[in-house]
Amino acid sequence: MWFNSFGFWLYFAVVALVYALLTWKWQNRWLLLASYFFYGCFDWRFLALIFFCTALNYHAALRIAAASDEARRKFWIGWSLVASLLVLCVFKYLGFFVQETSRLLQALHLTAHPWTLEIMLPAGISFFTFHALSYTIDVYRRDTPVCRSFTDFALFISFFPQLVAGPINRSTQLLPQVAKPRPKPDEARFRQGLYLVLTGLFLKVVVADNMAWLADHVFRVPASSLQAPEVLLGIYAFAFQIYGDFAGYSSIACGTAAWMGFDLMTNFRRPYFALDPRDFWARWHISLSTWLRDYLYIPLGGNRQGEWRTQRNLLVTMLLGGLWHGASWTFVAWGGVHGLWLIIHRWLAGGGRGGFPAAGWRKLVQWCVTFHLICLTWLLFRAESFGQVVEMLHVLSSKWLWTSFASTALALLAFFVVPWMLYETWQERRGQDEALLSVAWPWRALFYAVLVLMMLFFPPPTVSEFIYFRF
């Protein structure tokens, strides 16, 4: 049940209507039931898996809270981490590691036949595992009180707007909202929800899916048949596809949650306006980057143990962040390249103590370089193999011939992406995420009318599924 489907909005209308009629305790039970139904629509067999993860972490947290000594607390947090990550590894990475081991053994002539293990990937497994882990770690650190209501905890894990593609909400932020009555719906919440839902749908239906049409073609055909402008525009198209897709999903999640009285974490803050890699990660998939910072980078030592250790911690965090996206070496390499870039940037910026001077044309150059380096890393992220990356880089460095496809792609990028980027420029200048909510209503009406008409008249030639569902 995708957010851009009729089915979802029919489902949401029923859920929201019944929700509005219930008292708080029953609201939680209703939302839990609705969330399990939502998840079951992807594949009902994995309902048992999400229930298992929920029960496992609920029980572990109770044990941590009840433990009288540090050793027991450590045992139960270790149990929660190992068991949760084991489940994630089995479903997400086991097939990959079996295949890679088989390749290695074949290369060493230790086995003649390749081994394959195909395990179905449950939707959103990386997201709900990280939700659950954030809770048990927070309980262990005594950052959050233990949740004694199984219904509340199960709802925190499975709350449908954020269940399959985030944002990854912290127990410290979402659990307290589950555990007490939400504010009554008012105009401010309705206004915020409407803005988030409409902009999210626009980003998905108009920007992401139309860009997917171009990007998929460039990454589908043999690179040798392409010219450099086609590859370059294909990479730009993918950059806006993944942004529109994921930021769109997060925005709709936040909007629907706002209509039900919940505040979810902002996940994107105009990432392509970043001026350096650190700035980019402060704007892109914020819920994941802060999760990795708080639960991996800082526990590894963060930047407290000297420059060398800091660099190591950065690289390890980004490599694992890459692997989180999927079982493929290209994702690991993508994380690694971002890690190296962060290290180089840190080194150039003087150990993170200062930044580059950012004024006038320098700022423009800095933005342009950062944007293109981000796009270059997207090539690694999107490519099917390293071979494809090398071939595309080769084309980029040699075959500069303007083609009919390039003209079309450029025109479509200008038509679908430039207006949105102009809007984001305005937001950036105002320094507000939801600046539109503070302007006079006729302007907002005009803006929404454009979004609705674009969605109605310029849908993509083919509909693409949300990319992050695969993660």
Binding site: F6, L194, W213, H217, S404, L412
Partner: protein
């Protein structure tokens, strides 16, 4: 009134105005819509014809529009049969068996405008089951009488059902897909060639990688179409249109047509025309259409004279 409700009201008004506009000016959107809206007039031509007249309906898509020379067909049939001949046409672009079956039933059979012969012009892939757009079916082709059956047999899940009913209720939604091509084909440089290239690469990838590519061909809609038309007395002549490369209709199509008593002319295989007759490598030009129409005359005359 609160501001957000004013905004929603404005949006609703805008959509209502556009809905009215879509209903009033829909025929300006494309020649195809114009043709679809003229179908009742085509049916009227058949209904108004005298008892003694020979009535033929040319059914198909752009292959029929470009491949059959209707004036020549009328003239030749009139000359050979020595009686009044009425030719009606239904050939929406990009249509296939689903649109033909339900469109024929809605505009002709259920409207009491049954031809003596239905000349069905098809390509290799148009008669096997593959529903393309439930929105178009809801907006243009499926009659109220057929809705129940169509819903049961072809609408799978909430998404299909919603699209079908929204398109049925709203001309704006039904025509929304026509705006993008109208704008892009006109204003985006190279869009035509790019769209063709992308669609080809996508379809190659689908055939190469998808398990559905190996799915056996079925002809349930064709069977429904032919069997459902039997009681009306119309006889069917199914003719494959010539292409630059000769081809045969799928065995499943031939079997279904034969079982239902339709006559099949495999012109795609037997009528070889030079490649110059296909200016866009797909549709026939005027001389090509004349040749193909003359090729179809003998079997049509046989049907008109009641010969098997």
């Amino acid at each position: 009134m609160k501001n957000e409700f004013k905004i929603l009201l404005c949006l609703a008004c805008l959509l209502l105005v556009l809905e009215a506009g879509a209903r009033v000016f829909e025929t300006l959107l494309s020649k195809d819509v114009q043709h679809l809206r003229e179908l009742p007039a085509q049916a009227e031509k058949l209904r108004a014809a005298s008892q003694d007249a020979f009535k033929i309906l040319v059914l198909g898509n752009s292959l029929a529009r470009c491949g059959v020379d209707a004036p020549l067909l009328t003239k030749e049939l009139k000359q050979q049969l020595q009686r009044e001949v009425v030719v009606a046409v239904m050939h929406p672009d990009g249509s296939r068996v689903e649109e033909w079956a339900y469109g024929y039933r809605r505009f002709f059979q259920q409207a009491g405008a049954v031809p003596d012969v239905v000349l069905l012009i098809t390509g290799r892939v148009h008669l096997t089951d593959q529903l393309k757009s439930v929105s178009d079916m809801g907006a243009f082709y499926v009659s109220g009488q057929d809705t129940g059956f169509f819903a049961q047999s072809s609408l799978h899940g909430i998404e299909d059902t919603s699209r079908f009913w929204v398109a049925r209720a709203s001309a704006l939604f039904a025509h929304a897909d026509r705006v993008q091509p109208l704008v892009f084909y006109r204003f985006v440089p190279g869009y035509d060639a790019t769209a063709q290239g992308i669609n080809q690469s996508a379809s190659r990838a689908l055939t190469a990688g998808s398990p559905h590519a190996a799915k056996p061909l079925t002809c349930q809609t064709l069977a429904f179409f032919l069997d459902g038309s039997k009681p009306s007395g119309a006889r069917f002549l199914i003719a494959s249109a010539p292409m630059p490369e000769p081809y045969s209709l799928p065995v499943e199509v031939l079997e279904t047509a034969t079982r239902a008593g339709a006559l099949v002319v495999d012109a795609g295989k037997t009528l070889a025309l030079p490649v110059e007759r296909f200016p866009d490598r797909y549709h026939l030009d005027d001389p090509g259409a004349e040749t193909f129409t003359r090729f179809l005359l003998p079997p049509i005359l046989n049907l008109a004279k009641g010969r098997p």
